[in-house]
């Protein structure tokens, strides 16, 4: 059974259709990269999968680990193991990173009927993962993303992912705006999380992230549909020839 199975997905926001019949299958253990021009619908896809209510699904079907994803609330999807690293992580003044993350982990644990983590269980794990992402421990007591640099915000997303250990992680341009060190750190974080049980959907514009995170499949999203799919070489070809090439040669290869 596929981890994620998207069939003929149509979605609109404020009455505009953005996704126009998208098909995609991700199996556990696979890393899929989604590329595509600005405004083609990549973040929309991510938001729909994470069940953001402002996006309306008008047609299609999405199965997540065999369950109907489109029936789920954002928190249900999260508890079922879906994680979205935001293109623009949100600042939440007044809530510390540690408190937020522990609350999130406990919400997921509660959903699965597990005991809550207390601070004593949580902190050592949190500190260890912070080390992996080369983050200053002091950040844990600061408000969620408040006053963080762009790179710190992105690392914080990956840190949350590393703590929540999702089945499917969607990374929306986690590489954008990162300097070379931060890019390496983020990529290491992702690679450390790769496992035969976990799938990744990596949205990016650039080959440079894919140099670190070798994807199994690359898809090009154009105007709300997958215009082209292939192996890692597709990303290189895109980098050389641009999206125009992919649009002209629209052909869907079986993933």
């Amino acid at each position: 059974m596929a981890l994620l199975e998207i069939q003929n997905l149509h979605a609109s926001v404020n009455g505009h259709e953005i996704l126009k019949g998208l098909d995609l299958t991700v199996n556990a253990g696979e890393v899929h990269s989604i590329m595509g021009p600005n405004g083609s619908g990549k973040s929309t896809l991510a938001a729909v999968l994470a069940r953001r209510e402002t996006y309306e699904v008008t047609q299609g079907r999405v199965l997540f680990d065999g369950k109907d994803l489109l029936e789920m609330d954002p928190e249900e999807a999260a508890c079922e193991g879906l994680f979205l690293a935001f293109q623009y992580p949100v600042e939440i003044p007044g809530i510390s990173n540690a408190y937020f993350l522990r609350s999130a982990m406990n919400a997921v644990r509660k959903y699965h009927g597990e005991d809550e983590l207390d601070a004593m269980d949580f902190l050592p794990l949190y500190k260890e993962r912070m080390k992996l992402l080369e983050m200053d421990e002091q950040l844990m007591n600061r408000s969620v993303n408040e006053g963080f640099s762009g790179g710190e915000k992105k690392r914080n997303e990956i840190l949350q992912m590393a703590m929540l250990e999702p089945k499917l992680a969607i990374l929306d341009e986690t590489d954008s705006g990162l300097d070379i060190d931060a890019l390496r750190i983020v990529a290491n974080g992702v690679n450390a999380m790769r496992s035969p049980k976990r799938g990744f959907l990596v949205i990016t514009h650039y080959q440079r992230l894919l140099n670190y995170i070798a994807p199994d499949f690359v898809h090009v999203l154009v105007d709300g549909k997958i215009a082209r799919s292939g192996g890692p070489e597709l990303a290189l070809e895109l980098e050389a020839k641009g999206y125009g090439w992919a649009e002209e040669n629209e052909q869907v290869l079986p993933a």
Partner: protein
């Protein structure tokens, strides 16, 4: 033709006079007479009165509240238990305005702290109690001519607390004053009067806590006069958690000497109609005050905050921060007035009012007012009105938090701004728990209401000072 309500006030006044005939000193009787004369001449203000523009007192004026006799309501330890504060230095319990020694605990006081019922302090010989006698303080600061609620309280108070912190005493545990309204089957009124004298270089925290036992409507009209001596450091907490049928008007009037540092923390969670007056006068050079508050309402609660900060000396510093959370049809008012007197050069005054509206029907009125008679001053103010942001809510939910929990967390974060301005200690812990519980209720009860639609950014309201005088 007098209404029943008016007759009740008149009867209450006559009862108070008769009961005090034998033992009340002349100066006190004079205060009562003046207060009554003022109240009976003016009556309750209407919305035509600039200071009451946003708060309609018709329902309060119409309700025939009754003064109850001393032992008319019986309140047991069991009724009080939920309201006890862990870690308090002492607790005074007042039921319907009367001191109840059996429920109070003021036996072993830390050195330098004197706490007793105000009536007792007056009865027991004056100079003994307060420097220069209580008559030097009671009625000296709270102005019955300015405010009819002060006038009414002065005419009708039965009892209240007297707190004195001796020179240099450092009292780290809070003094807890619990004012209980226990409706004896009818709408009752109480007019608690509190006098606090924080002497030179002393340190102390006093919590005034208003609660109700039972669901009957009550009217609490409290006046507190707080005198902070030179270099004193003082925190005052007002906690309003009466039932949702109650009317509560409270006035905190502080007089600060040179370099005195006073913080007023108001936490308004209960009550149907609440008016919270805070009126510090920075009388000595270099005095500082923090006026910090949180008001959270739902249903048809009306929470009105009236701040009047008087800078009367040079180099004083005042900070006002009020955060409001309003759900359903709740309505909030923040009226912040700053008066800078002629000699108050180098005044530094700041005022911030932030509000979260959880429904389209909730409403906040903010009115900043500035009255300046000095030229070298710095005054700033800002007010914002926002909603819970859909984006923040989605972010939290995308990590697994339920919608109600996510809302709760965002509300709490907003309220925490207010908590963070309180010193650590038993008083802060107490209000922290109360706020958490109240916000939890608000988050649950409004989880299905509009989630703030698509609008994300908290709108900044740019409103200019209204210049007066």
């Amino acid at each position: 033709m007098a209404t029943v309500a008016q007759r009740n006030y008149f009867d209450a006044y006559n009862e108070v006079l008769a009961e005090g005939q034998e033992h009340e000193p002349v100066w006190l009787r004079q205060l009562r007479e003046d207060g009554w004369a003022r109240f009976s001449a003016k009556g309750f203000p209407t919305t035509h009165d600039e200071d009451w523009r946003f708060t309609n007192l018709a329902a309060l004026a119409r309700t025939p509240f009754r003064r109850v006799a001393k032992d008319e309501a019986t309140v047991s330890e069991r009724d009080i238990k939920p309201y006890r504060v862990a870690g308090a230095a002492c607790q005074l319990v007042f039921v319907n305005g009367y001191f109840v020694p059996e429920l109070s605990d003021a036996e072993k006081l830390p050195q330098g702290l004197e706490v007793c019922a105000l009536r007792r302090a007056i009865d027991c010989g004056l100079d003994e109690c307060a420097p220069g006698g209580i008559e030097q303080h009671l009625g000296r600061y709270a102005d019955a001519n300015r405010d009819v609620f002060v006038a009414l309280n002065t005419a009708l108070w039965d009892d209240g607390a007297y707190v004195r912190i001796r020179r240099g005493a450092q009292i780290t545990r809070p003094v807890h004053l619990l004012y209980v309204s226990a409706g004896a089957g009818a709408a009752i009124m109480t007019h608690p009067r509190t006098v606090i004298i924080a002497e030179e270089a002393s340190l102390c925290t006093v919590v005034e806590d208003y609660v109700s036992v039972g669901n009957e409507a009550g009217f609490s009209n409290a006046v507190t006069e707080l005198v902070a001596g030179e270099g004193a450091v003082f925190s005052h907490f007002l906690v309003e958690r009466e039932n949702l049928a109650s009317f509560n008007v409270s006035t905190l009037r502080t007089e600060q000497a040179r370099s005195a540092n006073v913080a007023s923390h108001s936490v308004l969670l209960g009550g149907a109609l609440v008016r919270n007056n805070v009126h510090p006068v920075l009388a000595g050079e270099g005095a500082e005050c923090l006026i910090n508050g949180l008001f959270a309402g739902e249903g048809r609660q009306h929470l009105d905050n009236y701040m009047l900060v008087e800078h009367a000396s040079p180099q004083c510093n005042s900070r006002q921060f009020y955060n409001g959370i309003l759900a359903d049809h709740a309505r909030g008012v923040f009226h912040g007035r700053i008066i800078v007197h002629k000699d108050a050069q180098k005044t530094d005054a700041k005022q911030t009012n932030r509000n979260l509206l959880l429904s389209d029907d909730a409403r906040i009125d903010t009115k900043p007012q500035l009255e300046i008679y000095a030229d070298d001053v710095k005054c700033t103010h800002g007010a914002t009105i926002g909603q819970i942001e859909e984006e923040s809510l989605f972010y939290l939910r995308s990590r697994g938090l339920s919608k109600a929990d996510a809302r709760n967390l965002l509300l709490y974060a907003f309220a925490a701004e207010c908590l963070n301005r309180m010193h650590e200690g038993a008083a802060r812990e107490m209000v922290e728990t109360l706020i958490k519980n109240r916000l939890h209720e608000l988050a649950q009860s409004t989880a299905h209401a509009a989630a703030g639609g698509g609008s994300n950014a908290a709108e900044e309201e740019t409103q200019n000072w209204e210049e007066v005088g």
